[in-house]
Structure formats: structure tokens, C-alpha cells
């Protein structure tokens, strides 16, 4: 019952089932054991660390083709980032003509993924570069990414980016302006989402062990952050503890009821 109330309280962020089903499917694909016949490992960080001590980009990409890296990155996006688009798609659905809804939501999605895929080229490239530079020292790249993510986490610029993700602008109702507006909204969401989440995604790419666990922790953190309201940009660490606070409130209230 408490869990149900909490989920209800999370509102529109959790509503659109197709996004969450897609994400769940992507998690299943990522978690699938390597020994299943015909299965290709699509976990990006596992791919990056699959080549022991590569000496050059050419050598690395001869073993891990860029197309495979791209596919793994898209799978990672669907698993981790797609649910963050739920509120935006709900907004578009709520404010558009029924006849245009599918097209507009598709355009939002395309814009969002386009930014993230472009960002993925940079992030994955950076991860491979760090991997090559680290040689046999598997933890240095992860520690460097952790330092960068930690610094970015408390930066006012990151809070600014998070705040932009809470904005739901009106889009034109009639085509073709509606199509253009939806695409622009998806691109805008992608840019601010990439700006706020990029360093944490880089960290997930560079984890040399337990990559799925690291991805799950990062994803939960990002989803929990989206439940927090906008805040004034400042150098501050703001852990996204809303769900835990809600749980504590319900436990306390239930205990109070039992006590009276």
C-alpha cells in the first residue's frame, strides 16, 4: 500500500508504460548472459573493457567495431535515459490533436535520441581514449570519470541544466509548425539531459567491473533526481532522497496511528 502511494505520488514521471517496457526490455538484453547462443554482448562498458590492453584505436576497433559500440550505446540509452522522457511525452500527448499525437511523440523521441547519439559518439570516444591511455591500469579511467562526475554533480551549471528539464513549453497545434515544435522540444530536452547526465554516463562506461550494477546505480540516481523540484543554482550537493523521505513519512505515520 505504501509502495502504491509512493508510485502514485511520483505522478506523470512513471505513467507512460511503453517507455518503461522498452527500458525493461533493454535491461534484459544488457543482462543476458554471453553464453546464450547467438547473443552479442551489448553492454558498452563490457565492450570497452573486453580488449585487454589495446595499443591503438585501429587494434581496438578491429575487435570492437564502431557499429557494435553504437548499438550498445543506443541500448544503454533506451535502458537508462528513455524513462526520463516520460513527462515530456505526456505533455505532448495532452496538448496535441489526437491525429498528430503519434507523429509528434515520435519526433520528440527522435530529437532526444539524436542529441544523445551525437553525445554518445563523444562520450564513447572519450571512454575508449581513456581506456587506451590507461593501459593495464583499469581503475584510473573510472576514478577520473568519478572525479569529473562528482565535480559536475555539485556545480551550479548542472543544476541549471536540471532545471531546464522541468520546463514544459507550449508547442504549436497545427502541422507543420507542430512537427517542428515537437522536434525542437526533443532536441532541447536531449541537450539539457545530456548536459546534466553526461559525466555520470561516462562513469558508467568506464566501470571495469560490475558494469550492470554501475549502470543500475547511475540510472536509479538519474531517475530519482528527476523527481526533485527545480532548485536555485549553487555549489551544493543535493542527493535525490525524495522517495526515501516519503517512505520514512509513511512509516512514521503508520507507527503514529498504531500508537494512538
Amino acid at each position: 500500500m505504501i509502495a502504491g502511494r509512493l508510485l502514485a505520488g511520483c505522478g506523470q514521471v512513471l505513467r507512460p508504460a511503453p517507455l518503461w517496457l522498452s527500458a525493461a526490455g533493454a535491461w534484459l538484453v544488457l543482462a543476458m548472459p554471453d553464453d546464450i547462443a547467438g547473443h552479442m554482448d551489448l553492454c558498452s562498458s563490457a565492450l570497452i573493457w573486453s580488449v585487454p590492453a589495446p595499443e591503438s584505436f585501429a587494434f581496438f576497433f578491429s575487435l570492437v567495431p564502431p557499429s557494435t559500440l553504437l548499438l550498445s550505446w543506443v541500448t544503454m540509452l533506451v535502458a537508462m535515459q528513455l524513462p526520463l522522457l516520460a513527462g515530456t511525452l505526456h505533455h505532448v500527448r495532452r496538448t496535441s490533436f489526437a491525429s498528430l499525437r503519434l507523429a509528434l511523440q515520435t519526433l520528440v523521441l527522435l530529437g532526444y535520441l539524436a542529441v544523445w547519439i551525437a553525445g554518445g559518439v563523444v562520450l564513447t570516444g572519450l571512454a575508449v581514449t581513456l581506456r587506451l591511455a590507461a593501459g593495464a591500469d583499469v581503475w584510473s579511467p573510472a576514478l577520473a570519470a568519478l572525479g569529473l562526475a562528482a565535480l559536475w554533480q555539485v556545480a551550479p551549471a548542472r543544476q541549471r541544466a536540471l532545471n531546464r528539464c522541468h520546463r514544459f513549453p507550449a508547442i504549436a497545434a497545427f502541422a507543420p509548425a507542430a512537427h517542428l515544435g515537437a522536434l525542437r522540444l526533443g532536441l532541447d530536452r536531449g541537450v539539457w539531459c545530456l548536459a546534466s547526465c553526461g559525466p555520470l554516463m561516462l562513469l558508467a562506461l568506464l566501470m571495469p567491473s560490475h558494469p550492470m550494477g554501475a549502470m543500475a546505480v547511475v540510472a536509479l540516481w538519474l531517475w530519482a533526481e528527476r523527481l526533485e523540484p527545480p532548485a536555485r543554482p549553487a555549489w551544493a550537493f543535493r542527493p535525490p532522497l525524495r522517495l526515501l523521505r516519503a517512505l520514512a513519512w509513511h512509516i512514521r505515520t503508520a507507527a503514529d496511528r498504531r500508537g494512538t
Binding site: 502511494r5 509512493l6 502514485a8 505520488g9 511520483c10 505522478g11 506523470q12 495532452r94 496538448t95 496535441s96 490533436f97 489526437a98 491525429s99 543544476q159 541549471r160 532545471n163 531546464r164 528539464c165 522541468h166 520546463r167 514544459f168 513549453p169 507550449a170 508547442i171 504549436a172 497545434a173 497545427f174 509548425a177 523527481l227 523540484p229 527545480p230 532548485a231 536555485r232 543554482p233 532522497l241 525524495r242 522517495l243 526515501l244 523521505r245 516519503a246 517512505l247 513519512w249 509513511h250 505515520t253
Partner: protein, 532 residues
Amino acid sequence: MVRVRQNVFELGSDWADPILWYARGVKAMKARPLADPTGWTFYAAIHGIDRWLWNFYSFTKPTEPAPAPQDVARFWDQCQHQSWYFLPWHRGYLMALETQIRAEIAALGGPADDWALPYWNYFNTGQNRLPAAFLTPDWPDGKGDNPLFVTQRWGGLATATPYPIWTQTNIKAMQDADFTVPQPNMSTGFGGPETGFSWSGDRSGGIENNPHNMVHVLVGGQNDSQTFPPDAPNGLANQPLEGVMGDPNAAALDPIFYLHHSNIDRLWQSWNVFPTGKPRTNPTDWMNPTAPKWAGGPASTGERAFCMPKPTGGYVTYTPSQMQDIAALGYAYDDLTPGTLQGSAVSMASAGRGMTSGRPTLASTKGGRAMSSAGPELMAATADMPVAGSAPLRLALRIEPQVRTRLTNSFVAVEARPDRVFLMLENITGLTNAGSFAVYLGLPADADDSTRQAHLAGGVSMFGLRKASLADGPHGGGGISVTLEVSDIVDRLHLSGALGGDGLAVDLVPTVAIPDSAQVRIGRISLHRQPA
């Protein structure tokens, strides 16, 4: 003990005891610094604070220390707007202030036990003006420093002359039997849409939109002859000076704020129980929400708890469910009649809706039944992004013919109730809190006054607009949206054949000047049908 909140104009004299003791209490609170939780400025900051503005208007000194960070985090910037928590949070806020004022009265040796805030019913004949004790800088003995007087009041309702308030606002929300309506329905109900803490929503509930927001602006107004300096922050630079009542981050500095909210609270109680035996077509009509998220407040979903300081130190937290029964809280109102002025009568009689088919009428159906699970549907919208300035603006809503057919089919269906129709002004942004405009739907170009009144969809106030428009503010810069029910206007347009064309005119007429420098923009204006 039951403490009775009384009409400020019916206390017997301008400076009757409840007002005199209120003034003495406010004076005692004003003597304390910003960091003191029992001080006037601290209490105002519980509603909201813009420290630069407060320093500029000399409510605080730039060198005055702020409270400890934990006090700021616990108490300040709590006001609930564009939210279904609007009414219960403000009820708790009023009660906390009353407790503090009673403590001041007791310390001064006055009659503290039964003191309660008066209310200002600007919808009563002859009472649509500022109460006299708030108009003068002097105490009744002629000496200065009357703490109820505030210089920064420039609105039309802030004078000794009765103001035609019905031309700007109304209490139509009193006829909406739903406190809230599940989203994504277009109606915001009487009390507001479901939200989290504070400004996480973008649309006000019916009673918050009118008269609450509009009265704030009509008292605050703006000073057209003076502007904020060029280095003012938060979008204030070079804008006309605004009255404090128009800004949520300053409004509670004005002692009239609490009498205004006492009246809003009275209207909530009136909506609950007045008149006795009013029509009920649904078990939840005229009742407060029972949803756990409303009852438990934002703390139940992990957000801030509503929290007020106590006169003796410490604090008290509260939930909406604890605020919903005013009698149980020990308060009553001397009169629950909404108002006597033109346009303020709350009619439970039938309106003209469905008159041609003998079907259920608007007034008998409005808000009084469960919403359809079909959800709302966009029917028409402006093609561009209108900019509202100082001049009247006429725009065209482009209608989607298939949706219009579904709407008009609902007018003649025998089994179902007619659709409700809502006009929505989406993503209004700008750098002012002081403006307002009237919105007309389907107005003929040569309309006379009575025709204009028939096409008046409602008033839109800029209360809180600047804060909602700041990119790093609680709305992420998305501004505010306003929903106005236009079912009756659309009915008439349909009956007169004016709904059949490709477009429908929307007129925005500034009723309180909106300076062009305020850059007020409207993301989109749209029309939605809501199946009943």
C-alpha cells in the same frame, strides 16, 4: 472556545478593538529582526521572500542577517500556489499568525483569548474598498507609524473609493462542486489541480485564480511614474515599481494580505457548507479531497512538510487533512454569504445549457458529476505565439472540424451530458506581477457592453508571473497557465450558429496596464472539450 472571524467593515468602527489589537500586534512583530521567527518579516518570508526587493523597499536592511540555514530551509518560501494545497496551507498560515498576534496581545495586556483575524469581503456592497485603518499612516490618535499602512499599494482596490471589482473578477468558482478533478482533465476544480509542494503545478484552482490572484494585483498595482533601477535582479530592472501585494515574494509584508486570505478561507468554508442543502449530484460534491496525497500533504510524497513557528519557540507541522474542518480547529465565520455585489451571487439555478433539447443544464451538471474517463481533447488553438502588451489584442483560434463535430454531437446526444469546454492560456511568461487582462471568446466586432459581458471568459492576473518565468525558478521558466471554463459561451455560440466557421476570435483586453517592457508572452491559447 470558538473564535469568530468577523467582517472588518462591520466591527462598529474603523478602529474597533479587533483591528486596533491587530495593529498593536503587528507593531510588536515588526520591531523584531528578520532572523527572529516571531517577527513580521520572518512571517512574511514564510510565504516568500525576494531579499533584494525587500531591501529596496526598506522592509529589511541590507546588513540585516538572515536566519540560520536550517530555519530558512524549514520555514521560508512555503506558499502553495497553482496547487490543491493552496487552501489548506494558507489556512494553517493564518492560524499561525493569529496565534502569534494573540501572544503579542497577551504580552500587551489585551484581550487575547478570543481575538481572531477579521476578513475583508470586497464582494459586499460598499466594502469594495480598502478598510480605513489600512489607508492612513496614522494611528487613530493622529500619530504616525500605523503598522497597517504600506506605501507600496498602487492598485485600484487600494483606495477609499469603492472599486467596480466585478468588472475584473468574480466568484464563479463557488459553483464548481468539485474540489479537484483528476488530471489530465481540463477543469482545475474549486481548490486546484493535484500537485506536489508549492509551484510544481502551473494552473491555479478556480478560487485561487478568481478572486484570489486578481485581488492581489488589484491591491498591489504598479507605480507608472517610477521604475526599478537598471541593476535590479530577477527581471525587475527598469520595470515599473510594483505593489508588494502583487508579488508572492513580498505580499505577506502587507497586513491587508491576511484579511484578504481570511476572506478566501471564508469562501472555502462557504463552498463546503453554504447554503445548507445545496444540490448534490455526486457524493463528493462540495467536499474536500480524500486522496491520501492531499490528506497527507507534500510530506507524504517526500517533499517539504508544512511548518510554522510557535510563539514560544520550536515549530509545528501540519497536513491538509488537519486543516479541513475549521470548526474542529476552533474557528468560525460570522457570515458565509459569498457577497452581495453585482456578479457575486452564487446561483444554483439552471443556466441556459441544453435549453433546446431539454437536456441537463450546465449549472446542474457543472462539476457535479464524475468526469468521463475519455479525457479532454484539444479542439482549437492559436497558430502563433501571441504577445500581450498595453493594447487590446485580437487573435484567431483555428478550429479542428472533426473535434468540433464531436463537441456539437454531445449537445444533441440524449444519453450523455454535454461536453464542458475550457479555454486555456498556456505558458504565460513575463517580467511583471502587476498586470491583468480580460479574456473574451467569440466577441462580435461591434459588441455593446451587455454582449461583451456575455462573451467574457474571465480575468487573468499576473500574480506570481515573474517568479514563474525565471529560468531557475520553481517552474523552470515555463510561466503559468490559466484555464477558464467557457461552456456557457460556447453553448451560445453554437445556438447562434457562430461555432460553424474555421475560426473563433479571442480578445485580450488589459484591465490593469501591462507595460510593453514586461515582455508578456503567451505560449499558446487553446480550446479543449472535456467529455462529461
